[in-house]
Assembly symmetry: C2
Homo-oligomer: 313 residues x 2
């Protein structure tokens, strides 16, 4: 039987556990709703139960867990997860290793997604790319010379936390709006509701909206929704342009929930790039991620099969 990796994707709403082969194929998987308010030891028990079900006696080659972080992939400690209670300064790697009686690697889920695209997805032909995942937040991972950039404590790639505001003195001590605050799904939904309230002609008028509803209405010809999609694409393009100027990658790969609207967003993202990139940065390629909602799970497994991609201990 082929060697299999035990991979865990810990999120604020769902825990997903899978056995994944060396080609990135999920052989079997289980998921459950995260008991997010009950503290880390309840969550560790949930993970362990799922692992036992998925393994069903199979011997895994190794195990890896990814989570939103920020987390220190060198020490395996989580500094905190916004959507999970009690994970402040929690030794995730050691607690889970003990519970599973297996050595476990810990990775940021954005970096895991980037590794998945590198090994099995849209990044296979590149040595240098930026993977940006846009869902309820914005995160990602940076691949340089065919390996993830981890930096100090393994914490590189918090791409949603580029700050985006001119009114800095006003925000000196307060929360400073960042790429995530303006570009992620909830921000689009918020803008949509604010503008739709003033536009009785729009199908979006006076409805509770999420980002998906805006993309759908745009597809169906709603003018306001189409304008909102163009604004969103412009903003994503500006974020991409900043990252291109800093890192000069070969390609940008967009993943997360927003990637389902990639074909709607891509033309204006490309236009924004050509408007704002300095000379010589033309030709950076823009791609949709290929691995969908299981990318982080597959990427965590890839770390088990490809030790040169794993964080240094």
């Amino acid at each position: 039987m082929a060697e299999l990796a035990l991979a865990i994707d810990l999120g604020g709403t769902q825990i997903r556990v899978g056995l994944v082969d060396a080609l990135g194929q999920i052989v079997t998987q289980q998921s459950t709703g995260t008991r997010a308010l009950e503290g880390p030891f309840v969550v560790i028990d949930q993970i362990s139960d799922l692992c036992a079900q998925v393994l069903a006696g199979t011997q895994a080659k190794g195990a890896a867990i990814c989570a939103p972080g920020p987390l220190d992939t060198i020490s395996g400690r989580v500094f905190g997860v916004q959507t999970l209670k009690g994970f402040e300064d929690f030794p995730l790697r050691d607690a889970l290793s003990q519970s599973l009686s297996l050595p476990v690697q810990v990775e940021n889920d954005g970096i895991a997604g980037a590794v998945a695209e590198l090994c099995y997805g849209a990044g296979r032909t590149y040595s240098d790319f930026v993977y940006i995942t846009i869902s309820t937040g914005i995160g990602g991972g940076i691949i340089l010379d065919g390996k993830p950039l981890r930096g100090r404590r393994g914490m590189a790639g918090h791409l949603g936390h580029m700050f985006f505001h001119r009114d800095w003195p006003r925000f000196a001590g307060a929360h400073m709006p960042c790429f995530e605050d303006w570009g992620a799904g909830p921000a689009l939904a918020h803008r949509a509701m604010a503008r739709a309230a003033l536009d009785p002609a729009s199908a979006l008028h006076n409805r509770a909206l999420d980002a998906r509803a805006v993309y759908q209405a745009a597809t169906q010809g709603d003018i306001l929704a189409q304008n909102l999609v163009q604004d969103e694409a412009t903003l994503l393009g500006i974020g991409c342009a900043s990252l291109i100027h800093i890192l000069s990658p070969q390609a940008i790969i967009l993943g997360g929930g927003m990637s389902q609207a990639f074909t709607q967003l891509a033309p204006m993202i490309e236009k924004t790039l050509s408007n704002h990139l300095k000379p010589g940065f033309d030709g950076v390629e823009l791609h949709c991620a290929q691995l969908g909602t299981t990318s982080s799970l597959i990427g965590a497994a890839a770390l088990v099969f490809h030790p040169h991609l794993a964080a240094r201990a």
Copy 2:
């Protein structure tokens, strides 16, 4: 006699040429005002004349030139230099190699500055840091695993071109304000003059100002100048925080003209970092660059002595 590298720093106002030893010491140097409006071949002649004076018959181990760019360090072509006429898509490496009858490396001056700090300055004890140079523009270089990050075409490190604005739709087709537009010396001077016009009590009132004048007045106790310095430090701190979230470096090193005011700026930069960095990013160290105005020259020379730091051909 010790081996010497021939290093050239091409700027919009000045050309500087030096012979530098393997310890980063400038043995001899010459400079001249750049004939910036007369086209690249006049400038190449100026450089060649200075090189002949500096060499005076000495055999150099190799030669390297740095310039503002954006430039392609792989092919040695410059895409354009804002302050130099006629450098659009100019084959700087080949033209200079031919004129000097020597192989010449081409490097972005921000990356050269980072390499200098890595080899001989404030970056010696780090493997991962971001060097930010703040003068009339903002540029820099990123050191990862002890080597400069170059990326596609060798163009990484254009740190001044992170975009900094929330009003993206308004700027969709126009110039989008970026870190450089708000953080570099001219922006500080511009803010200072606007605010001083309304403040007769300030020593800055109704004067033509540059950034240096603002720092000097702040040192002498001028309240408006002190407030302007705090705002500038806040803005620089926000730019640093964005870069820390993306790259997770061990340290940030600030160079360029603004580094002369490092001790005035550092406390508020540190405070801004602690206000805006996500958990776990604490402890990134902030340093003043050590090599002053000759850092790019010394860094170019370092590329001659340390082939593992040079761009891949």
